[in-house]
Subunit: 428 residues, 2 copies
């Protein structure tokens, strides 16, 4: 974790072939032509053949890190040697993709995670939501007597155990989380626990919020901190009756009537889950029609197949300007305001409200102020190669931002692809 760790012998059996090959190549390269030195003689004088394999690699690693350090020594504020070739802040799908690719390319890599490995997709998004959808789809079919009868299937006493359904989703997330963690460890990626803060060029601190933590240096840094549910002003989330997708995926409660604020893909997925489990759903959509961001053909099909035949109604062209959680026997109260006239139009009283109004980039505590970076609508500005742009419009050397935090395309696969791209395009 400290710069001395560069000198600790690598675990030979875990070192990937590609990594080893790169080290071999480095030691055999015609070093006399390299433009930096003082080290050259040391390298050339060294007889690798006298060392055993592990020792040889240890020395090669040492020399290689020295070379890397020397190559960036001209930068005033930057460190002159690095603990890592690459440090990634955030171990979601984007950071994981970047880390795997970096290791494949022979980079000494660390990943900083303040919560759980896998990020939103694995723990609070794609994975648990698909687990819930798998159950809800089956429940919907089992409750459709006409359909089963047409198939010649007879079923009696079909029901679900809410806690068991929740456990299934949680178990699946946990299984995939463990797989991701193990893959990082097996490849030799250091997992550094805590919130990552950029303290200056090529420097990151990590640790518990409010504690001093440890600092590492890195030739390159990738920010991959992702996003969190966005909650508009006036809405009070209590995590029980007024919830976001983070809470809903835990399925602690199946309300009789739930309002879903926002009819994008997150809201639509939950309408599927809740109606299959017996809830009635009311969508609240600020734009004039449901699923306004969808391709029109898809939204037409979704309306016909996933909305109309189900216990779903909707208010469009209205904002949920105020939502208060249920308390002391009172229901959840939702104030609806006309999107055009801005006048309060209606009040809904429901058992629960799910806020599915999109996601906001997560950059709290990242220390962007230490490197003169200002977010734009919360997102970290990047160029087309994911290089971070500072407040003066200049590229920040050796700093990238991928995934939801840059706002280019807020999807897990995009983050992973951007991570691989960023890990490939290190500056020379």
């Amino acid at each position: 974790m400290h710069s001395s760790s560069v000198l600790s012998p690598p675990n030979c059996s875990l070192l990937k072939r590609s990594h080893r090959n790169q080290i071999e190549k480095l030691s055999l390269a015609p070093l006399k032509n390299l433009p930096f030195c003082g080290l050259r003689n040391e390298i050339l004088a060294f007889e690798f053949s006298k060392l055993n394999r592990c020792e040889a690699q240890r020395v090669r690693n040492f020399l290689r890190n020295k070379i890397v350090s020397a190559s960036v020594a001209e930068n005033g504020n930057a460190p002159t040697s690095f603990d890592y070739d690459l440090v990634i802040i955030g171990a979601g799908v984007g950071g994981h993709g970047a880390a795997l690719h970096a290791v494949e390319k022979g980079l000494k890599t660390a990943i900083i995670e303040g919560d759980v490995i896998g990020g939103t997709c694995v723990n609070r998004g794609c994975v648990p939501s698909k687990a819930l959808l798998a159950v809800s789809g089956r429940m919907r079919e089992l409750k459709n007597e006409h359909h089963l009868k047409a198939l010649g299937i007879q079923v009696s006493g079909a029901g679900y155990d809410r806690q068991a359904v929740a456990d299934h989703a949680n178990n699946l997330a946990s299984k995939i989380r463990n797989n991701l963690t193990n893959s990082l460890k097996a490849l030799g990626v250091d997992i550094l626990t805590g919130v990552g803060t950029i303290t200056g060029p090529q420097r990151v601190k990590y640790g518990k919020v409010g504690f001093s933590g440890s600092e590492v240096t890195a030739r390159d840094i990738i920010i991959a901190t992702g996003s969190v549910p966005f909650v508009p002003r006036g809405i009070e989330v209590d995590g029980k009756t007024v919830i976001t997708s983070d809470h809903a995926l835990k399925l602690e409660f199946v309300p009789e009537w739930i309002a879903i604020v926002g009819s994008g893909y997150i809201g639509l997925e939950f309408s599927d889950v809740y109606t299959a489990l017996g809830s009635e759903v009311t969508f609240i959509e600020a734009l004039d029609q449901l699923m306004p961001g969808f391709d029109p053909e898809i939204s037409k099909l979704a309306q016909r197949i996933l909305v109309n035949p189900r216990k779903i109604d909707y208010h469009t062209g209205v904002f949920a300007t105020k939502i208060t959680p249920a308390k002391d026997g009172r229901p959840v109260v939702i104030e609806l305001t006309d999107a055009k006239t801005k006048e309060v139009k209606d009040t809904l009283e429901v058992d629960a409200a799910l806020i599915a109004t999109g996601r906001a980039p997560f950059t709290n505590g990242l220390g962007l102020e230490n490197i003169n970076v200002l977010t734009q609508r919360g997102f970290i500005p990047v160029d087309e190669r994911m290089r971070v742009v500072d407040a003066d419009g200049n590229l920040v050397p050796h700093l990238y931002c991928i995934g939801d935090a840059n706002g280019k395309m807020m999807l897990a696969h995009a983050a992973s692809a951007q991570g691989i791209s960023a890990a490939s395009s290190r500056e020379s």
Copy 2:
């Protein structure tokens, strides 16, 4: 149906735009340059403008057919005018694809079918088998308590009604069959009922076997008669306890123990259906391993997922040299002969046997002898453009064969693609 029908006015509203365009183009073409005539003056003298639209088209059609006739009049045995541009023998998926494409290209088209529209795929293959698999997959899941419990789903009783499952498969086939029939009719394809026999070049007779029937002439003929289950010698199929896929898809009986002779995709699909519905299965495979025709990676997966965890055992390297149906309380008896030594090795007594040893081309009554065509291992020889090759190795003019009957690739989609290709590549 007769040559006079060429002169009957086309139904204008049903005439496709592409057909109309072709007719317009024909009448406006510089006909004086065409190398055949006696008709030229008539055509040029005719004032289309004096006719109403339907009359004009009628005349254009007449002239167009005359031109077509003239172009082939040099063939001694061939007719000098044609009832149809194209006659297709067999209305399976291949014939249907060819017919639709032919109409799209503006050809006057008829299709001869002696059984049901849709052929094997729709009535005795892909469609009903997938309907059975849809039910059996659900039954398998409903009987898997461990799996359901892990999902959080409770089901107290699940079963199936054999007749209702069979009806579901039959209803689906019938629905698709009706859709195909309606599409042919709506496009103006004449459906001629009966067995088609080629009586000479560009001549086809159709009608009930043993009756005189009607004869039509066609500029081009496509044979699309498909295939039937292949039953090796020594096996007595009674349709009740010793059956082929034709019978099995009717699901008249779910035996406790069924032997499936042949472990290709047909046998494998039925092993899935029968084990899900409660049967035990024994495969009899002549080659040394199950699913010998599969890609090795696929067969490995299939063995692990679809065979090993189920009540399936198998004998490989043996032929079922003799199978006698159950009778008077005796079970089905299967004689197994070693594939290498040719010695009888074992005898199985089971409740039923499904013969899934492949499919044989269906060319009965086609009249191939009338045009000097000899089948090769039952298949009709064709070149790479699906043109039929006669016993002397020459192409038979204006005759194509597509689909299972040519044996190139015995799959419905291949038949359809070949049909479209053949309908496109008419000889000039």
